[in-house]
C-alpha cells in the first residue's frame, strides 16, 4: 500500500475528481437546465487541466527540454481554443 503513496496517485485522484465535475455539469444540463456558456467554458477548462496534468505528471513532459514542453503546450492551447471557439464564441 505504501507503494501507492506517490505524487502520481494524487494526480490520478485529481483527474477522477475533474471527470466527476464534467459528469455533474453534463447531468445537470441534461435534466432541463440550459447548457450555458459558463458550463461550456468549465467543460473546456476541465479538459485542458486534465490533459496538462497527464502531459506533465504521467508523460513527464515537465522534465523534458523546453522545446518539447512548448510544443505540447501549444497543441493544448490550440485544441482548447478550437473547442471554445467552436462551441462558445461562434
Amino acid at each position: 500500500m505504501q507503494f501507492f503513496m506517490v505524487r502520481e496517485s494524487l494526480v490520478w485522484l485529481l483527474l477522477i475528481a475533474a471527470t466527476a465535475s464534467t459528469w455533474f455539469i453534463s447531468s445537470n444540463t441534461s435534466s432541463g437546465v440550459d447548457f450555458t456558456n459558463g458550463s461550456r467554458f468549465m467543460v473546456v477548462l476541465i479538459a485542458a487541466i486534465k490533459i496538462r496534468l497527464i502531459l506533465r505528471e504521467f508523460m513527464h513532459v515537465k522534465g523534458m527540454p523546453f522545446v518539447w514542453k512548448a510544443v505540447f503546450d501549444a497543441w493544448l492551447l490550440a485544441v482548447s481554443m478550437l473547442l471554445y471557439t467552436g462551441f462558445v464564441i461562434i
Binding site: F3, F4, V6, E8, S9, V11, W12, L15, I16, T19, T22, W23, I25, S26, S27, T29, S30, F35, R40, V43, V44, A47, K50, I51, I54, L55, F58, M59, H60, G63, M64, P65, W68, V71, F72, W75, A78, V79, L82, L83, T85, G86, F87, I90
Partner: protein
C-alpha cells in the same frame, strides 16, 4: 608530484567518503545500473522518458486528431440542428465510464514503470496486466456502444454527425487496440528480461496519448451542446 596524487596518497582523506560515492559503490556491488534505479539519467538536466521517436510519432498523431476535431467543429457550424439531435443518442454515462477506465489505466502504467525502476518486476507485470485489462474493458464498452447504434440503424452514412462520430472514435479505438497489443508484447519481453524500463516508458508514452485524446473526444462528441 601532482596534487591529486598527494590527496589520494593521504589515507586520512579516504576516511569520510561522500554518501553519493557510497551509493554508487552499493549499486556496483548489486550489479544494478544507477540510472535505472533512479529512473532518470542523473547526468542530464532534462530527461526524455523512453524513445524520443515515440514522442515525435505521438505529436504527429495528436496534430492529425486536432485537424479532425477542427473539421468536426467547422462542419457543425454550417448546420447545428442535426448535430445536436444526433448527439442526444449518445450515452454520456458510458463516455464517463470509459474516461475513468482510461485514466485508471494511465495511472497503473505509471506505477508499472515505478515498480520496474526499483526492481519489483512481478509487481510491474501485475500493473501492466491491469492496464491491459482496462484497455480491453474500454474496447468492450466501445463495441457495445457501436452495436447499440448499429442495431437502431445509426451508421457512418446516417448523417454528418455520425460520420464524424464513427471516424473519430473508430480511429481512437484502433489506437486503443494497438496500445493493448504493444502492452502485451512489452509484458512478455519484460517477463523474459529482453526489455526494461526504457521500452516500457516508450509504450507508456503512447498509452498516455490514447488517454489524453479521449479526454478531448469525450466533451467534443458527448458533452458539449
Amino acid at each position: 608530484m601532482d596534487y591529486r596524487e598527494i590527496f589520494s596518497a593521504d589515507p586520512r582523506l579516504n576516511i569520510k567518503q561522500p554518501r553519493a560515492n557510497k551509493m554508487k559503490e552499493s549499486y556496483a556491488e548489486l550489479n544494478v545500473d544507477e540510472n535505472v534505479v533512479s529512473g532518470s539519467d542523473t547526468s542530464k538536466k532534462c530527461h526524455i522518458p523512453g524513445e524520443e521517436g515515440v514522442f515525435i510519432f505521438v505529436l504527429l498523431d495528436m496534430v492529425i486528431f486536432a485537424l479532425l476535431f477542427g473539421s468536426f467543429l467547422f462542419e457543425r457550424l454550417k448546420n447545428k440542428v442535426p448535430y445536436v439531435e444526433s448527439q442526444a443518442h449518445l450515452s454520456v454515462d458510458l463516455g464517463i465510464i470509459n474516461t475513468l477506465v482510461l485514466l485508471t489505466s494511465s495511472w497503473f502504467i505509471v506505477m508499472a514503470i515505478k515498480a520496474l525502476q526499483v526492481g519489483r518486476k512481478n509487481l510491474s507485470l501485475i500493473f501492466i496486466t491491469i492496464t491491459m485489462s482496462c484497455g480491453t474493458l474500454f474496447s468492450g464498452i466501445k463495441i457495445t456502444e457501436y452495436y447499440d447504434k448499429a442495431s437502431v440503424g445509426m451508421t457512418l452514412l446516417t448523417n454528418d454527425f455520425f460520420m464524424f462520430y464513427f471516424i473519430i472514435t473508430g480511429m481512437h479505438f484502433i489506437h486503443v487496440i494497438v496500445g493493448t497489443i504493444a502492452l502485451l508484447v512489452v509484458f512478455f519481453r519484460i517477463r523474459s528480461n529482453t526489455s526494461g524500463v526504457y521500452t516500457l516508458e516508450s509504450v507508456a508514452t503512447y498509452w498516455h496519448m490514447v488517454d489524453l485524446l479521449w479526454i478531448i473526444i469525450f466533451p467534443l462528441l458527448y458533452v458539449m451542446r
